[in-house]
């Protein structure tokens, strides 16, 4: 069963953090199609977060087609979120590792590396031309 964590210092809305964690869990295989997500009450009993936040995250997952709410029995995983296949992800991840190794060799610390990633994300906004 998946457990959620909440980072209250990230500035990312809590419901989006849950959505992202479900997506990630699917991508790495912690969750598989057919698995049941914990009920809202189970989540809040464990993590002490707002139940409306969890419900909203579940609604969002449903509208993305990732999960399905079945009345009376809970929320179930339907499929892997759309996006690159595991192979493509692995290739991207390898590329990034090579780049990180380069950056370290050049003497950058972790914070500077993170800052560079953030800057390049800002330079290439979603939907924009790079």
């Amino acid at each position: 069963m998946i457990t959620f964590r909440l980072n209250t210092h990230s500035g990312v809305p809590p419901y989006l953090q849950i959505v992202q964690q479900v997506k990630q869990a699917l991508q790495v295989g912690i969750l598989r199609p057919g698995d049941q997500l914990p009920t809202v009450k189970e989540v809040v009993a464990h993590v002490a977060i707002n139940p409306n936040t969890v419900a909203k995250a579940y609604r969002e997952l449903e509208s993305l087609g990732i999960t399905e709410g079945r009345t009376g029995s809970g929320t179930f995983v339907l499929e892997r979120p759309s996006g690159p296949s595991p192979e493509v992800q692995e290739a991207l991840s390898k590329d990034l590792e090579i780049w990180v190794a380069k950056a370290r060799k050049a003497g950058l610390d972790e914070e500077s590396i993170e800052a560079l990633v953030r800057v390049s994300l800002q330079k290439n906004p979603k939907g924009g031309q790079s």
Partner: protein, 294 residues
Amino acid sequence: MSEIAIQTKALGKRYGSFWALENCSIDVPVGSVSALVGPNGAGKSTLLKLLVGLSSPSAGESDVLGKVPAQREEFLSDIGYLAQEIPLYGNLDARDHIAMGQHLNKRWDEKFIIDRLQELGIPLDRVVGKLSGGQRAQVALALALAKKPKLLLLDEPVAALDPLARHDFLSSLAQAVADGGLTVVMSSHLLADLERVSDHVIVLAAGQTQLCDDIETVLKEHKLLVGPKEHAQNLGDGVDVIHETHTPKQSTLLVRLGKGTKLPAHWQQHEPNIEEIILAYMGQAKEMNIGGTR
């Protein structure tokens, strides 16, 4: 969330010549968990007391669950209120308190409270004076929930608890909200906790409402801008500066953006967390007071 559980308009409370709360206008949606935050003396407890009818306003009006707050049964039966000093009888045990609740309330879910306390491993037959602080808080919360209130008002319920007891208390609260039909307003200084369990925030400072909105909207509309100082003056329309700090060359601004507002160039944009935003509003109010513009 369109239905409103609490609405106040220019609500104020004066003690002698001192306004403990002034011009407080808030809307609290049904089913939300509102964090009521502000520095000491901002009027948080005063507001909660006005909402539960324990004191009467000197100005303005309030509508709580469609009624004017008053110490009358038809109003109070839908309201749970937990005062700052966890009001329990130290030499009675939980079972005595439950029996008392049964006598004092029309609606009373005895099974709920006994199940809940047993789940938490709290002995029903030990005098509450001998329970830990966290256990006492849990007993008080369970008592407040056993009357199945539609609105629960909590005045700094976790202030005196250790981190684990705090987590357990907030978890109990979140579970009660998950069961549905409950609106919560909770004051606290622990901003990080509040961001977890709340979806709505009310910031009181300098006796006035500085902010009252759902947290997601608040996060979306506020940005932290870092940029050259010479551009700090002309940010354009729709950019509301909440708080600013300057070094000789650089300015850091916490701003609220109106809908569809484009930010001017030159500024590096960051996403502030709710704690930074709340602190900015409190800081703004403090400066207003020092400046004597109030």
